[in-house]
Amino acid sequence: MKIAHNLYKSQKLIRINLEYNERENTINQIRISGDFFFYPEEALETLEADLIGRKLERDTLKQEIEKSLGKTEVYGFDSASLTEAILGCKT
């Protein structure tokens, strides 16, 4: 298990706090924070929950995030930038 952080500048600033399984390359826990707007607000927690167990791979993450963002309105980042913010934890 490894803990990593990343600060990613999209239209707004995204902070990622990630706990992941290095061997399996999967997400154990994730917290996404920042000065963005996300409607409805509670849907961010749903997105974080949906990412648990997912592979830290660009296509997998982007697909999962797109699915979640489809039900929300977000100002400050998009699926591509959030994907990069998460993957940036590993670099």
């Binding site: 902070r15 996404i32 924070s33 000065d35 707007f37 100002y75």
Partner: protein, 246 residues
Amino acid sequence: MGKIRFSKIRTLETGYNDAALNMAIDEVMIENVQETPVLRIYGWSPVAVSIGYFQSMKEEVDLDKCNQIGVDVVRRLTGGGAVLHESELTYSFITKEYPRNIMESYAWICEAVVMSLHRMGFDARFVPLNDIVIAAKKVSGNAQTRRNGILLQHGTLLLGVDVAKMFSVLRVPSEKLRDKIIKDAKERVTSLTGTTFDELSLSLKTSFAIKFDANLVADNMSTEEINRARWLAEQKYRSKEWNFRR
């Protein structure tokens, strides 16, 4: 954008309160608003930092510094960034009827704010999503939440600005870049110098009345509203569970 009119707007001037009570009063207004929307005007005492709903208190705010200099902290119900509430007027507009499109609804309410600044001689304009600027410098930040079919938008109007103090209580992404960040912020932020809270309050109320073709009904919070707000301030907005949830 469809033309929405209100016959009345309930106006509340709730004075200067601490951060927790200020956010609690906003939440009570969401709970209680009926067909008549509410325009609330208020200030902050002591000086406070509010953080956005999705921000991390520990990562955004220097809590030791806040303790040292007596700056209050609170998490808002709305998204967006951290704000130092010192020399400013804050307003909230709470309504059941509003444009469902988020961008439209920001423009819809911010137009009334811009009108109030024009009346006072400031060449202000709305910049989507949520800013109001004068000569390309931000003078007002605004944020919304929608709960149970109710829209709340609150926003700040800077009467003065102390960028150095702001960054003394806010953490910056890179300490190495602190000086540059402060310099950049000074170039990007302005204030309504020479304007008083009361003048701005009056102009704001007038603009909301004109914008929405509404009569203003000056009111006070009811005893029930005050008690509920005090309870929410204690139980929610002063709690670690709320303020440190991210």
